[in-house]
Symmetry: C2
Subunit: 701 residues, 2 copies
């Protein structure tokens, strides 16, 4: 720890998969993010992306070990932008930022404290960098300027030079790892999306939820009884709102905060019967929990030796890096929940706040530090809970409040307590850079307008969830928009073949189902500099602020979604180059331009790429079951011919890992008479086939 003990190191880069290079600086720690996630890269899928060249001159990457820490520097070119560094909620462009990556509840600042502070960034030049460390990493993403920089900014006199900036140009990303060594990875690509694909595939590929996971979900009041839950499901059915799974909040447990993980027999006297009855109505049950074990839990004494030094609300914290703790903890989940038919979990409070978690001074029996445990606990609960379902050959889809690198393949969606609709959308934009999923869930709303606007967004997201259990808002609670809410919810259901395929592409090709415009070809919107002059008295020096596009995103292969926020009558939409068409009418919307739309209250603006193909199923109230055939309406948009691969499997099991799936090729081609004609390939022999009758709709004429 002598501050003078420092040494520079030249790194040896090994290509560990096509276009993915790894190097070790110093002596990397044994416990890392990838070690916690414990997944295998999809080497074949990575190879299928093609070759890539190493994106730097190798000596441009500088590593030094000093003061017990590892310093890493990577170059940045002048016009380069960087994205990622985890689930940020306010900004997309990360160049110029200083952050400390730290699992925490998002506290209204993109400072590195977030639910998934993934140490991976993507460059606009088409490469990614990943630091495989489970420590709190200090990041200077083009924010610091070295005396010896080869591309120094110009010194300016702030007295008189109005172009002075508090953040002069910086030519490097600098990272401080508080450990005497670290593993580094570079992900190559022809464009940024390829680097993201490689990252996701290196982490085992994205998750493929069960079909029902992409349906509608409602969470009910924490003190609801079995009968009240049943009534809630019946009301959805009678009012004809779709519903695939219901989430039970803490009161299903006999005690919570800390938890027993056991059913409360007054509210749920016959849990197995209750779960089966719900299943028979087509409704799955998701259980809220956090992992802190109550002294009244039956597992308490057994798990005690495998728990940390500090408690969370007097509950003990299982050391989930230890097989003993994994077994004791999850075998009860298996027995009491999974084996009676429970479909998944909402795993709360594994992120922070600091006062809501074990402290950084805690110790764990495995010897893993509190800091490392904090950075990976969300990953561990995802991993071992998924394993439990996998053992039953049953897919799950749940919610979690913390994640990190390596977790792309775990079927969990991140949520939080923040409630800014705008931030929720920016979170969705950023989720695609980090191999995580995010839901802009709907809770309370002040007005019907807000309720509908939020619902429209949630229907174009990884999980269509209402989480209004605390105030009891139902989809139909605002009568003035109840019909529109129903319609958008049904549209969500109709689009299930499209969503499901988008997730299959996430799994097999690493393409995020929801992602930033910056990953879309033809999107060239540069940062717009805006000078705000509102508070001269409080900040005497006026400076330009960078504006970025953070309120629209890509959904699946073809769709550009531009949500409306309460209070807006119009909004601007930035369309990439190429023709884009209105999703609802098929009319040309624009091409490489900024358009202004006024969609009215009923619609969320959605645009389709030229040649886009959108498969729709009938508006069912529940997702199709395994083997259930559904008819398809296949829509085509624009002037270009189209080709689309529609994914199909049983929708419920892991049999797709054994090849039990098919890609159905859909083609739309112009005939000699100028009319479009569509075709769809047959299902492969002995592969699942869920497609009934097909009709075609050519939206643009």
């Amino acid at each position: 720890m002598n501050p003078l003990t420092s040494f520079c190191q030249s790194l040896t880069w090994t290509e560990v998969a096509a276009g993915i290079w790894k190097a070790e600086a110093g002596k990397p720690e044994a416990y890392t993010l990838l070690r916690a996630a414990g997944v295998s890269p999809n080497i074949a899928a990575i190879s299928a992306i093609g070759e890539a060249t190493f994106p730097f001159e190798r000596d441009e990457i500088v590593v030094e070990i000093r003061d017990g820490k590892t310093y890493v520097r990577l170059p940045l070119a002048r016009e380069e932008q960087v994205y990622g560094f985890g689930l940020n909620f306010q900004t997309v462009h990360q160049r110029g930022k200083v952050m400390q990556l730290h699992v925490d509840h998002y506290g209204n600042k993109d400072n590195g404290r977030t639910h998934a502070p993934v140490p991976f960034y993507v460059s606009s030049r088409g490469y990614g960098v990943f630091v495989n460390s489970a420590r709190y990493l200090d990041i200077y993403a083009g924010a610091a300027v070295r005396k010896d920089s080869k591309h120094p900014p110009e010194a300016k006199d702030r007295n008189t030079d109005t172009t002075w900036s508090s953040r002069p140009y910086s030519d490097a990303v600098e990272i401080l790892v508080p450990a005497a060594g670290v593993e580094l990875y570079i992900f190559g690509g022809k464009e940024p999306l390829q680097a993201v694909q490689r990252f996701n595939l290196f982490n085992g590929g994205g998750c493929l939820p069960p079909r029902w996971g992409l349906g509608f979900t409602q969470r009910v009041h924490r003190l609801y009884t079995a009968d009240q839950v049943t009534n809630e499901a019946e009301e959805f059915a009678s009012r004809k709102y779709p519903l695939d799974f219901i989430g039970l909040e803490p009161g299903w447990q006999s005690k919570s905060y800390p938890c027993t993980f056991e059913w409360d027999k007054t509210r749920f006297p016959e849990p197995a019967k209750f779960v089966q009855q719900m299943l028979s109505k087509g409704i799955r049950i998701n259980l809220w929990t956090n992992p802190y074990v109550s002294p009244d839990a039956s597992m308490y004494e057994k798990i005690l030796p495998y728990t940390g030094s500090h408690t969370v609300w007097v509950g003990v914290v299982p050391d989930l890096t230890m097989p003993e703790a994994q077994t004791i903890f999850f075998s009860q989940f298996e027995k009491d929940h999974v084996n009676i038919g429970v479909s998944g979990y909402k795993i709360d409070e594994v992120d922070g706040y600091d006062t809501w978690l074990w402290p950084d001074v805690a110790t764990f029996p495995s010897g893993i530090s509190a800091e490392q445990m904090r950075q990976t606990y969300g990953v561990l609960v995802q991993k071992y809970s998924t394993d439990m379902f996998r053992k039953n050959n049953q897919r799950t889809y749940g919610l979690v409040r913390a994640s990190n690198a390596g977790a792309s393949s775990f079927p969990y969606v991140i949520y939080n307590d923040n409630y800014s609709h705008q931030d929720f959308i920016t979170g969705l934009v950023n989720s695609g850079f980090s191999g995580v999923l995010w839901t802009p869930e709907v809770r309370a709303s002040k007005t019907g307008e807000e309720w509908l606007r939020r619902m429209q967004s949630v229907c174009f997201s990884p999980m269509a969830m209402i989480n209004a259990w605390a105030d009891g808002t139902k989809p139909w609670s605002f009568p003035e928009v109840a019909k529109q809410v129903q319609e958008i919810a049904m549209l969500r259901m109709q689009m299930m073949p499209y969503w499901y395929t988008a997730f299959a592409r996430y799994h097999f090709q690493g393409i995020p189902p929801f992602r930033a415009m910056n990953l879309e070809e033809g999107f060239t919107q540069k940062a717009v500099s805006v000078v705000e002059k509102t508070s001269l008295g409080e900040n005497p020096y006026v400076e330009a602020v960078t504006k970025e596009i953070k309120d629209q995103y890509m959904a699946g292969e073809y769709l550009l979604v531009a949500p409306m926020f309460a209070g807006q009558a119009t909004r601007q939409v930035v369309l990439p180059t190429g023709n884009w068409y209105d999703f609802y009418t098929g009319k040309l919307a624009g091409n490489g331009e900024v358009i202004t739309v006024a969609p009215g209250l009923d619609k969320i603006p959605v645009f389709v790429k030229d040649g886009g193909i959108i498969p729709l199923m009938p508006p069912l109230l529940h997702a199709p079951k395994s083997g259930q055939k559904v008819d398809l309406e296949i829509r085509h948009y624009g002037e270009k011919p189209g080709r689309y691969l529609l994914y199909d499997d049983d929708g419920e099991t892991y049999n797709y890992e054994k090849g039990q799936y098919s890609w159905r090729e859909i083609r739309v081609e112009k005939q000699q008479n100028g009319q479009f004609k569509g075709s769809i390939s047959k299902a492969e022999k002995n592969k699942p086939d869920s497609i009934g009758k097909v009709t075609w709709r050519f939206m643009t004429n």
Copy 2:
């Protein structure tokens, strides 16, 4: 760095001064907060406080070295409250808080990131704890609960138990020092104030500003010329507003951000003449600067080898731990500023933000890490600039944006860019726990009312400063309150003997001139639990919030100040036990109770302790010069007789360190006729004597 390598250590405590104990855990680092400050304890004054007992059973303090870090645990009793941990702005009670002490601009959260994150806390039980580390320290101040706690909280079911809390009772302060060893200090006391006194005296005692430093100060526009500054001073004089020093903002330098430290010859063609002319009018000049050296500065080439690896706005950062850097840097200050009569500095941007400073990845030629440099840079600039004035036997009084432990004796007041009047007052309250000074400076205001209310507060603070240079507001800018502003400013001047004595007590006895009610005898206001029920939808679990008294404070020996904020017509004031009297009328205000006051716009509520003695001088426009005699009106308040020691010295030099000062004893006693009578002792022979004619005023009848 093997996480399994950990060991517990029993500490050996050595009494290094009366009631001050020191212990070393592990292998403490060489560079510490006290090393940076480099001051000597005032052993005699510490002894004069008396004996103290060690506040713990020694084995209650636990230390462990693990994961390359030092873990420290100290016990907390059930009803104990803790204060301090630096310059917090929103809270006074620190028990239950999690923070990382980190020099930074205050970002609207008391999370350890502040201008003076002093690792010292004071217990309501009358002791203090200081961690002498220049690292970012993680603090769990009664916020974490161990499995093996001897005083465990009760597990509660959140489902049904409304007394459930997210922050169960914790019986310890836990600290993580990111180094394999640390020095710890315990400061004993019969009451919390004694622990604070010991801490301040151990740091050399509080600073004693020159008399003029306690007068009024105005900062002028950054591009003002010498003539414009002269005009500003003349306008103060002609309008009869007091003024002792004027602050020049960046434009006095030929270049700024980064700086040349050289006069701009277009705006200030003859700096020496300008400064002398101002001095002849009784106005001193204070110079803004930050310490980052412009490539255009004449010192640039010389200091370059002694600067850090990274620049700040392309300016180099002197390694001020190195004598070479100190000499090159400050010898220019001496030559160009101090030797021509400049009285002091405002040293900006030594705190943060993160994007406004060298990064934590920077290195410095001394081998001191960027983190340690960040924690101490404010201390270093205070120390070496003070030394420069001391060499001239001339006191200074300036402004600085960062400080830390050890800096009590440096004559600097902290300021920032935040502008919440309420937070400013809480900052003033907390400054007294940490051996720092804070100014609730006045900048722009939306209304005359706000302007006056802020001015009233600033006149009862360590530095009466208007810092409205950016928008150009003058004391008289709001005509509707110009007279009241003048009156409060003149009251500030009249009270100079009282303020000066308060600072003498800070220096000689370690008693903060401005301090929390919690350091006042008879103040027993317990935390009030308040349940707020405003956002059930957003936070379904309602919890009690602790209310604390953070909007009133003690000023000097006798005064309780309860500022009014814009928009308030009335406010509550918590009076400690004992009779308290209205400062303006002498009438009894209350005794150990909560009163409501409606003082009107003209007055800031101020209350005087029973038997309080307040010496006032005539309302001069400038502080008395060395040797200048001023008449005194000595006021007495209440029913009790009074005894007060009034401090006197030349007000400008360091001769007081050689004994050139006196304490004049003032007594007010009841005569047989029931009337009060006052007396004041004569000046000691050959000691400075600035007191002219004395008149007496017995305020309470």
